[in-house]
């Protein structure tokens, strides 16, 4: 029974690790693509710098918040799993 409880917590930590890794990968690619296009646009037309910066800022904020959500979910899985005490109690018997 204790082994099962241990397995549950190992699964939680593994899920957290994979979750944040996948989120960071996706957000990194998304931010990189956005930044690349913005810099290319500004290099071609420096006058559009203000307009491009504003659009990119909003896009980057949205993408970054996705990664922060994933970080929060991962940390919840490791440190504040809502059912952790109940499941540990269930397997302890």
């Amino acid at each position: 029974m204790e082994a099962q409880a241990l397995q549950f917590f190992i699964a939680c930590v593994t899920a957290a690790g994979f979750g944040i890794a996948i989120a960071a990968f996706g957000c990194g690619i998304g931010q990189g693509m956005g930044l690349k296009s913005a810099v290319e646009g500004i290099a071609r037309n420096p006058e559009s710098s203000g307009k491009v910066t504003v659009t990119m800022l909003i896009g980057l904020a949205m993408i970054e918040s996705l990664c922060i959500y994933a970080l929060v979910v991962s940390l919840i899985l490791i440190y504040a799993h809502p059912q952790a005490a109940a499941i540990a109690g269930l397997f302890a018997h």
């Binding site: 913005a38 810099v39 500004i42 420096p46 710098s49 203000g50 307009k51 491009v52 910066t53 504003v54 659009t55 990119m56 800022l57 909003i58 980057l60 904020a61 949205m62 970054e64 918040s65 922060i68 959500y69 970080l71 929060v72 940390l75 919840i76 440190y79 504040a80 809502p82």
Partner: protein
């Protein structure tokens, strides 16, 4: 001439959205925090306040860094931008980690607080869309 006015209008919309988002971030943060303090438990309210503060300050710092970095007249060194980005990232990561690990906040409250910027951006976009459709209908 026509193209110039279209371009100016587009810049105006962008600037208007940014101004709206910057202001509504604080307005939303204060109103949601007050709502949390009045109607929810202290850890939940703390989650909303801390989460909202983290993303709002992050957004303002990101705006400041990007405006300086992408201004063709006065370009900042890429290293400075990178260092600032990582410092911001590490500080917000450590704060969120400590908040959750020490059980200072309720995770759902933190989640709501972290959604302040996304909510204000969505709100700004919806208002602009409404204006666009309304103007076209007239």
């Amino acid at each position: 001439m026509n193209r110039n006015s279209e371009q100016r209008q587009s810049v105006n919309i962008q600037q208007r959205i940014l101004t709206f988002v910057t202001r509504s971030n604080w307005v939303l943060l204060v109103s949601v925090s007050l709502l949390g303090l009045l109607a929810a438990s202290p850890p939940f309210a703390r989650g909303i306040i801390f989460g909202g503060l983290i993303v709002t300050i992050n957004f303002h710092l990101l705006a400041k860094t990007l405006k300086k970095a992408l201004n063709p007249q006065q370009l900042t060194s890429p290293n400075v931008v990178l260092v600032k980005y990582y410092i911001r990232f590490i500080i917000s990561g450590v704060i969120i980690f400590l908040l959750i690990q020490q059980h200072v906040v309720n995770p759902i409250g933190l989640f709501i607080g972290l959604s302040v910027v996304v909510a204000s951006i969505t709100l700004a976009t919806m208002i602009e869309l409404k204006n666009l459709f309304f103007k076209e209908a007239v």
